[in-house]
């Protein structure tokens, strides 16, 4: 009767299939390395990420003028780029994770409510439509205008931008689940709405929402970096990848590493998150199952 229990053996094989996908595995490994490095930033960073030195724009070691003391060189204020990268990834990942978690959580509840209570469905979906019509960058600018700039404002903006998409995905999954016999049966034996939503609806929707959020994570990081690049994000001296790229923009002609190293890191994080999300979708989506 309970579809989630039936799913268990399938899911186990799903993970096995995921591990057979070489590209996804590499992406997962790279992402894991970045996450671990970011988590261990205080222990791994060779320098204080905020300490300025009198050696600005030192090139990275692969350039002949580089120094091993600063493997990725220094930025315009003479700060160690590697250390800033570690701390910056931390902030960027945290920003992505939090906004996806908050936006995803709210979006899922909204989507399920919409599918469960058909009477409020049109109303909720129109609100979602309105929200969908705002580009995330515009939302970010609006939120920054209200709350001021900073990481919190970016997280709020990204979370709000995530809600409508997640609500849509959840609703379409939930509508299918609502048509299943076990929902009817649950109602027949007198389960409360809360129990039905929590135990049956939520657990049956969560896999598709999870896949969507994995894919969304990459996008959110990218938009977050863009907002930071526009100067709405982290306050100096804290490091954030998008902001680091923005600061390096002025030196692009003669010290390109200041902008390119954080940009490449953003690229890697987004690429890997997307590849992992793609692979997860492939193995979890029953329609794509062969």
């Amino acid at each position: 009767m309970n579809a989630t229990i039936e799913d268990v053996p399938q899911r186990r094989s799903a993970f096995r299939r995921l591990f057979r996908d070489g590209a996804a595995l590499v992406a997962l490994a790279v992402l894991a390395v970045i996450v671990v490095a970011a988590l261990l930033a205080p222990w791994l960073a060779p320098h204080d990420p905020f300490a300025t030195t009198r050696q600005p724009l030192l090139p990275p070691v692969w350039n002949e003028a580089g120094q091993w003391a600063f493997p990725f060189g220094t930025d315009g204020q003479g700060r160690d780029i590697l250390s800033r990268l570690l701390y910056g990834s931390r902030l960027t990942l945290l920003m992505g994770l939090l906004s996806v978690a908050i936006g995803g959580g709210i979006g899922m509840v909204v989507g399920m409510l919409s599918a469960f209570y058909r009477r409020i469905d049109p109303f909720i979906m129109r609100v979602v439509d309105v929200l969908l019509s705002f580009p995330a960058i515009l939302l970010g600018l609006a939120v920054a205008a209200i709350f001021g700039t900073g990481v919190t404002a970016i997280i709020i903006a990204l979370a709000i931008a995530t809600i409508p998409d997640v609500a849509r995905v959840t609703r379409s999954a939930a509508v299918v689940v609502m048509g299943q016999d076990f929902m009817e049966a649950g109602r027949a034996i007198g389960l409360s709405d809360a129990t039905l939503i929590r135990r049956y609806l939520a657990l049956n929707c969560i896999s598709s929402v999870f896949v969507f959020l994995t894919l969304r994570f990459g996008q959110v990081i990218l938009i977050g970096a863009a907002l930071s690049f526009l100067g709405l994000g982290a306050k100096p001296p804290s490091a954030e990848l998008g902001m680091m790229a923005a600061q390096g923009r002025d030196f692009l002609f003669f010290a390109p590493h200041v902008a390119t190293i954080p940009s490449l890191t953003i690229f890697l994080i987004v690429l890997c998150a997307n590849m992992v999300g793609d692979a997860l979708r492939d193995v979890l989506d029953p329609r794509l199952r062969r």
Partner: protein, 534 residues
């Protein structure tokens, strides 16, 4: 068949396109008498009495003239619309004898009445000019005849002639001002300058055309008129690297607005010429709001001043293209007191730390100082935009070394001015142009100039008295002495963190004859009379 026909048509069209392009190339030399100057920001208007922006002055110097002009040394006053002038012995009456044959852009003859109208509009309370104080305490300005103007002061104002060289003192046409009303300097302008106003598209470009009758330029130029190019287009390009690219690719013939970081690249470009004026009278500083709790302690301010490394900032942020500032004004400025040469502000991180220790601010394990559970974390208001952001971060980095956690809040230029007029910050970043010690000090340190531009709330009767004495002095020694004392006072009280003096640097294509940079109000091209194609 159809495809062949199509191809043929396409070929014909392409050929036509090539012809058109070629025609464009042929037509180009005709336009070559036009030059484009790229710059970062536009002014809100071009009314000499109602705009203080450098962007406005840049254009006003070209479309209008002042009674007297300033030489490249920023110290010598030369004739302008007035061919000569006399100053009475008591220093209160200035008589200007105007040049003959000066005409406005619309062909009307300029007379003493126009001069009187312009100067009176400047000081008229109804104009609400933020720079009316620059005209001194005027008793009256009268036209003795068509070519003589008498400027009567209530008290001597030794800087009057320097102030009259500024763009606020240009001569404008009354009829045009009255006709255009609020649109004066927006939709039109009528002056006697070497160039005439054509059209302004705000935040896009401003077009000026040569005034063919002009022959009354200041004698600091070899060519006193008419101008040697047909047209000047002032174009707004906010992104600094784009401006640099515009100069490097020939889209702009000349500009002073290229990032310092790219100057070395531009110097290496054989098609470009980078020149610099010796006078660096545009100073960047960070000022304290001295009655705010966190920075009301003199020791805290002194420590912060000592912690900032001006030499490193000039080197790191501006690639050594600027002069590190060790006083609030340039040592080359008029009336600089030589006795201060060995009392300059120098970086001393150790002493800064000791001052804070003695004042009871103890360093905690997080690397910042605390007193009574309160973190030493002053709030700094700054302009957003790459220059100030980099500067503030550099200051923040230096302060961090002595345990001060600077909280930077950057605002877009549209709201920054309003924010900096409030009382809610501890430190603010600002830069300003001046010609003399008195010009600078009278602007910022007079009690009556609070809340702006005296954003520091520096209210000191002794300072006011010294400023008055300097302002009214008739000889340079008294001025230098009075202003030197003021500087010593404010240095001692650590009211500002001086950062650097900015010299004027021009980047131009070698297709133009070398243009000598002027530093008047930071407007490098001044009247633009020496701009010409080789």
């Amino acid at each position: 068949m159809a495809t062949t026909a199509l191809k043929a048509t396409a070929r014909r069209l392409l050929a036509g396109g090539v012809c058109l392009a070629a025609a464009g190339l042929v037509a180009a030399p005709a336009l070559a008498q036009s030059i484009t100057v790229v710059r970062e920001v536009d002014s809100d208007r071009y009314d000499p009495h109602r705009s203080t922006a450098r962007a406005a002055s840049e254009v006003l110097f070209m479309v209008a003239d002042t009674l007297v002009s300033l030489d490249y040394d920023m110290q010598t006053v030369k004739p302008g619309l007035a061919e000569r002038w006399e100053v009475s012995d008591d220093g209160k009456t200035y008589t200007f004898h105007l040049k003959d044959g000066v005409k406005f852009c619309d062909g009307k003859k300029m007379t003493a009445a126009d001069v009187v109208y312009s100067l009176k509009r400047w000081i008229d309370p109804a104009t609400k000019s933020p720079v009316a104080w620059r005209a001194g305490e005027v008793e009256d300005i009268v036209a003795l005849d068509d070519s003589t103007v008498e400027y009567r002061l209530k008290a001597p104002f030794s800087e009057l002639l320097y102030q009259l060289t500024q763009s606020f003192a240009v001569v404008i046409d009354q009829a045009t001002v009255e006709k255009l009303g609020g649109d004066f300097g927006v939709k039109g302008f009528n002056g006697t300058g070497p160039y005439c106003w054509v059209e302004w598209r705000p935040r896009n470009d401003l077009k000026l055309a040569r005034n063919p009758d002009y022959n009354w330029g200041p004698p600091i130029y070899e060519n006193t008129g008419p101008a040697q190019v047909e047209e000047i287009v002032w174009k707004i390009v906010p992104e600094e690297n784009t401006r640099m690219a515009a100069v490097a690719t020939g889209q702009s013939e000349i500009t002073q607005y290229v990032p310092y970081s790219t100057l070395n690249t531009l110097r290496a470009n054989p098609q470009l010429l980078v020149s610099q004026s010796d006078a660096a009278f545009w100073t960047y500083f960070a000022g304290f709001k001295i009655d705010r709790e966190m920075v009301s302690e003199e020791a805290v301010r002194q420590a912060m001043v000592l912690a900032v490394d001006q030499d490193a900032i000039a080197q790191n942020v501006h690639f050594g293209e600027v002069e590190p500032a060790h006083s609030y004004i340039s040592q080359a400025a008029l009336d600089w007191n030589r006795e201060l040469d060995d009392k300059l502000i120098r970086t001393d991180v150790e002493k800064a730390g000791k001052l804070l220790d003695d004042a009871g601010w103890k360093m905690e394990s997080d690397g910042f100082r605390y007193k009574n559970g309160k973190k030493l974390s002053p709030v700094a208001y700054s302009f957003a935009g790459s220059t100030w952001q980099k500067l503030m971060e550099a200051i923040q980095g230096d302060l961090r070394k002595v345990g001060v956690d600077l909280d930077i809040q950057a605002f877009d230029a549209t709201i920054a001015w309003g924010k900096m007029a409030t009382q809610e910050f501890d430190l603010f970043g600002m830069s300003y142009p001046y010609i003399s010690a008195g010009d600078a000090l009278n602007l910022y340190f007079r009690s009556s100039n609070t809340p702006t531009p005296n954003r520091m709330n520096w209210k000191d009767p002794a300072t006011d008295e010294l400023l008055d004495r300097g302002k009214a002095a008739l000889d340079p020694e008294t001025r230098a002495e009075a202003y030197g004392k003021v500087l010593e006072k404010v240095h001692q009280a650590a009211v500002w963190i001086p950062l650097y003096h900015e010299p004027m640097k021009l980047v131009q294509t070698k297709k133009l004859a070398p243009v000598k940079p002027h530093n008047i109000y930071g407007c490098g091209l001044y009247k633009g009379l020496d701009i010409k194609f080789q």
